[in-house]
Symmetry: C2
Subunit: 356 residues, 2 copies
Amino acid sequence: MSLFRDNIEKMKGYVPGEQPQEGDYVKLNTNENPFPPSPKVLAAVKAAAGSSLRLYPDPMATRVREKVAEVLGTRPERVLVGNGSDELLGVIVRAFAGSGEKVVFPYPTYLLYKTLVDVQEAEVVEVDFDEGFSLPEDIIVKGARITFLCNPNSPSGTMVWPDEAARLARQIDGVLAIDEAYVDFADANCLSLVEDNPNVIILRTLSKSYSLAGLRLGFCIAQEGLIEGLIKVKDSYNVDRLSMAAAVAALDDQKHLRENVDRIKGIRGYLSESLREMGFFVYPSQANFVFARCKDAATAGEIYEQLKRQRILVRHINYRGLEDCVRISVGTREEIDTMLGALSEVLCETGKSAGK
Amino acid sequence: MSLFRDNIEKMKGYVPGEQPQEGDYVKLNTNENPFPPSPKVLAAVKAAAGSSLRLYPDPMATRVREKVAEVLGTRPERVLVGNGSDELLGVIVRAFAGSGEKVVFPYPTYLLYKTLVDVQEAEVVEVDFDEGFSLPEDIIVKGARITFLCNPNSPSGTMVWPDEAARLARQIDGVLAIDEAYVDFADANCLSLVEDNPNVIILRTLSKSYSLAGLRLGFCIAQEGLIEGLIKVKDSYNVDRLSMAAAVAALDDQKHLRENVDRIKGIRGYLSESLREMGFFVYPSQANFVFARCKDAATAGEIYEQLKRQRILVRHINYRGLEDCVRISVGTREEIDTMLGALSEVLCETGKSAGK
């Protein structure tokens, strides 16, 4: 008999995107930001790299909470900081969903939700998105303890607008966890829902818009009652001193954030248009990546393989019904031009067009 | 009805030791190392604080695994790295103990085990240590999925020797997780048990002997089959780039470690002897703290309070049956002399002696 629980024995782990640690890749596969973080972040890390590392960090990351509250116009007591928003997603599952209880999310979305629910031995309820990635009626599942909404969604890059999310929050029984990892690239966000909805949790991260995926710093915002319960479930010392120092500096430099986001949105427009001109159907993106549909699954697979051979990484996730799609992160203008050049060669060589 | 699971609603969270973020304390309450980390660690952090922070870290922390394997004489595939060993303790609970299943540990020990088992809604089985903190026979519980052994133990500082731990590993049904957070200060360790026991997991941390509590870096060592299962349960990107760089540098500087540990052991001897001379009963310590028994609970409480008023923090944990004990971390020789001076005043002023 295995020492592991049956559900762990049976499950497949979450498979992160390729993260080559060596070599020079044009890396457009895991939605990292192509621009460096604020210089103030690097200075803050260097200043924090002293003998105080021998001491435990502040368990509540108070300075980060305060800075988040200041930047987002909320109260520190409504903020909880985590080792990446991934950690907080796990904390949320453990806090609200017991063994066998329902956790709902649309399909396709961020694959980690399913992994976390499987680990918890709770019940995964996946509800297919409607055409164009709008929310289906049956996303409202009676007795569900948690409903996850990645918004903007990955891999589609599409957005459920705040009024619709607010309606969902009022209609469901349990918690609505809105994962806003990509929201700084979008035209709206759901933060204001926290005020009127005691069941809403908003998740944010410094990984994308703040160019700090390597740091692992996320946070969530919810009413005080929810935050207090989540504190019981998180690891006490979940965020280290260097990450805290970096996070405070990053959040403090809103000018850097705005300029970074503006550049990404500009290149996103260029990338989307270029792909459309090549015959792809491109979903309107509110994130730092685009989701593009080509003729068929074989073409999508070939695009991935051929680009990889030229050390350009994009994502071909093979979601059911979306096997003909590739997800491409917004890189620098130079990286995108390199990718587009290689892509047009792939399509030309194989005598294929991108379009249907 | 609460949105939280019943077990979360009912439980009290883990309460970490006081971590004052401001002010100048003689901090002898959470077993931090009084000496700074290796200068090579600080240099490595500064070197890593660059634009590569925009990229996700290596999900498997390969360079840390390799360095651990090299230093401890094992294989990288037998090592798993976590955001502090606390994270790995949580991963172990989720991997092996389902709802209602038994998790065993002696009492008193590291309080976090109980919190993690409560979050999991598994069954806590606490078995009192024998006199002198040796293992009782009834630590062997039929059907237990996990047995935790903090070794050296906190708060007692005492040690279960490897041959006894090996016997326990063979006699129990489930996993034996040996938490060796303090083991670099001890005269033995249980690492060799991994070779012959497919159910043993050894946990280590850089928080104590490497002076890096502020960093959050722990790891565990077990046979490949266990490590592969645990990988499914951990967060993908659980360790950040700065911590990895620091960890590799710390592990690489074994000379710094040895010198640091030797100094701590020297001061530990001095602290133990001084307390005995003042009338305390002091358990023989294999860790970087000492556990000292005085006349009664009131005296122990007063020691804690009076020292705190002088900005000296020690721990009065109030364990059942050990309310008359205080736990004092080994500080610098100067810190210990300051504490001893204040302590003798407390005992003198109150007209009390420490002894029974």
